[in-house]
């Protein structure tokens, strides 16, 4: 153990650890809750923390906070992935970006900023999609921290990490720390792929909002949102088919707003505004700096504990792995163990098919449309087959062959209780379900 590490009060000299005086109090001393077999106070843990390579997925609201927190937690080798560029509406919370950065890549700007601010940390940005990278890439990291706003991206990375686990190689198990926020609410969770409940096990905790039926939009709108959705889904297709709708183009939003407003006036519906139009069309989720700070810091607190064993961490098998936070009515947290599900299509042990109750009289097309909204499935473009035959395939060529099935009733294609296999090109895995006919 070095002198600097042993002596946490040496802040006045320019010793190499002087800067980490506070962190070193925790890294060099044991506490009442530390596991003596896992925590190696002093040089050992300081060394391993500085060598741990961490991947951050997402450099938005949560990502900016996470990057700052990881750098100030003593991590020295951080990689960050994000495909987005900076928009002016990011500036109320994504504090690593300035007006002049609008239009630049988030990962790039965030990495440069934190590298400049926190001396000695190396940050490697990648401006692109997580799906661009393969297993070999993910294998180099000790841990993955996610600050994403898309459930699809989370599911992809979760399935990839579960698929990478090789029982004979402990290094192949990469802890996944994930955060999410909406308004004053959020959650932080830790997943040890294959060992504890995964993102897919927890999918029904994040049910998508139910879509308004098309017939309501087309014939009996009642709410301002119905008029906006009508303009968005129906009117645009009818009148401006040749132009690709760009949610960020003010002219396009203005057109939709005016269409919606006119329709609302026809039906005596009040309340259509420009801001609401934008919100509905872009599916905007309110976001503020403070909630991001809370959730990101909770994620990084867990990441730090996982990397150092300075205290027990969320996600240790058979302990709590999920913290839910609510801040709009006083402050409330609920920290609990989400149980791994045997029928999880991603990490389920026995490959048990997850039961899916369905009405046998609907067509295959209706069944496929419904899958996007079902909390336990949430698949947008699935290919479907049974043990014997392909029911519907998205791949060109096969699509044409299987298309006639779309009009057929489910009961004409599948038996009650029969297993079906779903694949979706968004996910590196297949989902097994058992169709249960509802009487």
């Amino acid at each position: 153990m070095s002198i600097e590490a042993q002596n946490p009060v040496s802040g006045t000299t320019a010793s190499p650890r002087a800067r980490w005086k506070y962190l070193d109090n925790i890294l060099t001393r044991s506490g009442p809750f530390t596991d003596p077999d896992a925590f190696m106070p002093g040089e050992t843990v300081i060394e391993s923390l500085s060598r741990a390579k961490v991947l951050l997925s997402g450099a938005g609201g949560l990502g900016c906070e996470i990057l700052k927190n990881l750098a100030l937690s003593g991590f020295k080798d951080i990689h960050v992935i994000d495909m987005d560029t900076i928009d002016v509406s990011n500036l109320n919370r994504q504090f690593l970006f300035r007006q002049a950065d609008v239009g630049s890549y988030k990962a790039e700007v965030a990495a440069r900023f934190v590298e400049k601010r926190v001396k000695g940390v190396k940050i490697t940005p990648y401006c692109g999609k997580i799906q661009d990278k393969d297993e070999a890439y993910y294998m180099q990291f000790a841990m993955i921290v996610c600050g994403l706003d898309s459930i699809e991206a989370r599911r992809w990375i979760n399935a990839t990490l579960v698929g990478m686990v090789d029982e004979n190689d402990p290094d192949s198990l990469k802890p996944l720390v994930d955060g999410g926020t909406e308004g004053f609410k959020g959650q932080a969770r830790v997943i040890l792929p294959t060992m504890t409940s995964c993102i897919e096990c927890q999918l029904d905790m994040h049910a998508p909002r139910a879509a308004v039926p098309l017939c309501t939009l087309a014939t009996i709108p009642r709410q301002p949102q119905h008029c906006i959705e009508w303009a968005h889904i129906i009117a645009w297709e009818e009148e401006r088919k040749e132009i690709t709708l760009d949610n960020d183009d003010p002219e396009h939003i203005t057109w939709l707003f005016q269409k919606a407003l006119k329709r609302a006036q026809e039906f005596n519906i009040e309340g259509v505004t420009y801001s609401m139009t934008q919100g509905v069309v872009k599916n905007i989720i309110p976001a503020i700096a403070s909630t991001n700070a809370i959730v990101a810091a909770s994620c990084c607190n867990e990441a730090f504990k996982i990397a150092t064993n300075t205290n027990p961490f969320l996600g240790y098998p058979e302990t709590a792995n999920y913290m839910m936070y609510t801040g709009d009515d006083s402050v409330y947290t609920y920290t609990f163990e989400h149980q791994k599900k045997d029928d999880c299509p991603v990490c389920g042990a026995g490959n048990i098919a997850r039961p899916l109750p369905v009405n046998p009289n609907i067509t295959l097309q209706e069944f496929i449309d419904g899958l996007a909204e079902r909390p336990e499935a949430q698949l947008k473009k699935p290919s479907i087959r049974t043990g014997e035959k392909s029911l519907y395939m998205q791949m060109a060529g096969l699509e044409e062959q299987t298309r006639p099935n779309l009009e057929k009733k489910l009961s004409d294609l599948v038996e009650d209780g029969e297993e079906i296999l779903l694949t979706d090109k968004s996910f590196p895995t297949q989902f097994k379900y058992k169709l249960v006919y509802q009487k």
Partner: protein, 563 residues
């Protein structure tokens, strides 16, 4: 595009930048933020206060001022994101203020480097500020002075600790802190008055269900579920001595009646509007009584006696209280949830509710004007404020702010009217009251230990000798715990007593391990929660913490209680 209305004014630059937050607290909340001037009295490693300010500068408070007299050291650079190498040796207040200002050109930042002891005794030192944050450690006599100022000036005061894996904050709000816009969750049931319908609503339901049995399938499937429920309630009353279903048993029976009204001889095998009606029975068939916390507002002393200078809230509350006394119900809020219905029927139904809401508002407004005349008030209350109050009357909230504990060396911690309830909570498994007690003990320790003989800088437990200090801290905490149990006039028997003692000992060890250290993650998390609470206090929206919150970063758990 010839048939479209003329082009609209798109959002302003400011609306674009703040879009994601305006969807939460709106333009009025934003204006309140922009009019605020927040003072941070920064102490200790000084991270949690800066992280709090970060989350307030970003959404655009008006101004902030940092009071901090220490100079930047190497240790600051490893934990504070708003300092750089070039600032070593300079004033921490100055440089953190400058780097925070970079986050938002709309915000003005100031700093004070004069030591708190001399600065705080200046007359009017605290006058410019609308809210104060003080981070521990603060000398007890200075904290008491801040607390007195908060009471006198009716401004919110936050006192925050961030030590190792633990954090705490208490907030001293004005003694009457009312919130009209509490943003009740979408799961809260709308007040639809199904059990106390007014004549126009009944008449509407009657018209729409006049020939229910002989309706065409399409018509039958589009009768709004509210109308269906009102119809079946009238039917029910005919066979139940004019009474509505009251017990759970009656309600389930009623639900069966409703579900039997659905037609099933169609391809879907049922009707969506009837499904909605059936699903709404248990939660909608409740008498529209005001909650006890709302009724308490009507009987508060401030509400009973309206003066010339009474805050607007109390004048409107008094008027609504009169309305409630007269009718036994609050004004109709006027909103109707979406439901399966034809556009025209739904809009008509909505209008029935809206016009009743307008009528109720007019009556409340008349009382408000009467009260104003009686109290000789010069500026009339704006109608939109009365309207907002009427709309949210069922969810208004009154927080009775109060001073938090200021630990004075050698004096007992007083628990007062909270002693019994907190002593009881102390014994619950996984209670975090022991953690709060150790924070109080930490304050007593720092108040009685100095880094040097000059009495200059407070010394936190574990800064030099973790083991010895952990024992001292445990001793102080146990005395405080025993004091609480004694003041509550109760006994805690073993094994509970030993369990709490062990918990306190463990917390104390973990505190001493940290020394005076802040961990960036815990500071950032706590800064997040505190800034959220500050936004609530400034915008007077959402429901604030009343009045103490602790966070345990070892177990990732929090608790809120009133002290």
């Amino acid at each position: 595009m010839a048939d479209l209305p003329p082009p609209v004014q798109g959002p302003t630059a400011k609306e674009k930048k703040y879009d994601r937050q305006l969807r939460l607290w709106g333009a009025t909340g934003q204006l309140a933020l922009e009019n605020s001037h927040i003072l941070l009295i920064n102490n200790g490693p000084g991270v949690v206060g800066i992280e709090t300010l970060k989350n307030l500068v970003l959404p655009g408070i008006g101004q902030f001022t940092i009071q901090d007299s220490v100079v930047v050291t190497e240790a600051d650079l490893g934990v504070n994101f708003f300092l750089e190498d070039q600032h070593l040796g300079g004033f921490r207040a100055e440089h953190t203020s400058n780097l925070l200002k970079e986050l938002n050109p709309d915000v003005k930042g100031h700093f004070i480097t004069e030591p708190i002891e001399s600065w705080l005794v200046r007359p009017d030192a605290l006058r410019p500020y609308t809210l104060i944050i003080a981070t521990a450690p603060v000398r007890p006599e200075l904290l008491a002075k801040l607390s007195d100022h908060a009471s006198a000036a009716l401004l919110p005061l936050f006192y925050v600790h961030s030590v190792g894996f633990y954090s705490h904050f208490s907030v001293h709000l004005p003694s009457a802190f009312p919130i009209v816009d509490t943003h009740p969750g979408s799961e809260t049931t709308a007040d639809l008055r199904l059990l106390k319908p007014w004549p126009e609503l009944l008449q509407f339901a009657e018209e729409k269900t006049a020939n229910l049995k002989s309706m065409s399938p399409d018509d039958h499937g589009h009768v709004p579920y509210l109308v269906l429920l009102l119809h079946y309630l009238e039917e029910w009353k005919k066979t139940h001595n004019g009474e509505v279903p009251q017990s759970y048993k009656e309600k389930t029976e009623f639900r069966t009646t409703v579900s039997q009204g659905a037609r099933t001889n169609n391809p879907e095998g049922g009707e969506e509007n009837f499904d909605e009606a059936v699903a709404a029975v248990l939660k909608s068939l409740n008498p529209p009584q005001a909650s006890s916390s709302v009724k308490e507002i009507f009987t508060a002393p401030e509400c009973l006696l309206i003066r010339e200078d009474s805050p607007t809230f109390w004048v409107i509350a008094n008027a609504i209280g009169l309305f409630y006394t007269k009718y036994g119900v609050l004004p109709v809020p006027g909103s109707v949830p979406d439901m399966k219905a034809r556009s025209k029927d739904y809009i008509q139904l909505q209008n029935v509710y809206k016009s009743k809401a307008r009528k109720d508002l007019a009556e409340v407004l008349e009382s408000v004007r009467f009260l104003e005349r009686n109290a000789n008030r010069s500026t009339p209350i704006e109608e939109k404020d009365v309207e907002a109050f009427c709309k949210n009357a069922a969810h208004i909230k009154l927080v009775r702010g109060r001073p938090f504990h200021v630990v004075q060396a050698g004096q007992k911690v007083k628990w007062g009217d909270r002693a019994r309830s907190l002593a009881q909570e102390l014994t619950f498994p996984d209670s975090l009251i022991p953690l709060y007690i150790v924070f109080l003990a930490w304050d007593e320790f720092t108040a009685t230990h100095d880094k040097d003989a000059l009495g200059g800088t407070a010394q936190a437990p574990g800064e030099t000798d973790a083991d010895t200090d952990a024992e001292k801290l445990t001793g102080i905490a146990q005395t405080i715990m025993d004091g609480l149990i004694k003041e509550a006039g109760t006994h805690v028997e073993d094994p509970e007593y030993s369990t709490i003692k062990t918990q306190i000992g463990e917390f104390a060890q973990e505190f001493a391990r940290a020394g005076a250290a802040e961990l960036h993650n815990i500071a950032a998390l706590t800064g997040g929660i505190v800034s959220q609470e500050i936004i609530k206090a400034i915008t007077e929206q959402y429901v604030p913490v009343d009045n103490t919150c602790v966070f345990d970063g070892v177990k990732s758990k929090s608790a809120v209680f009133k002290v």
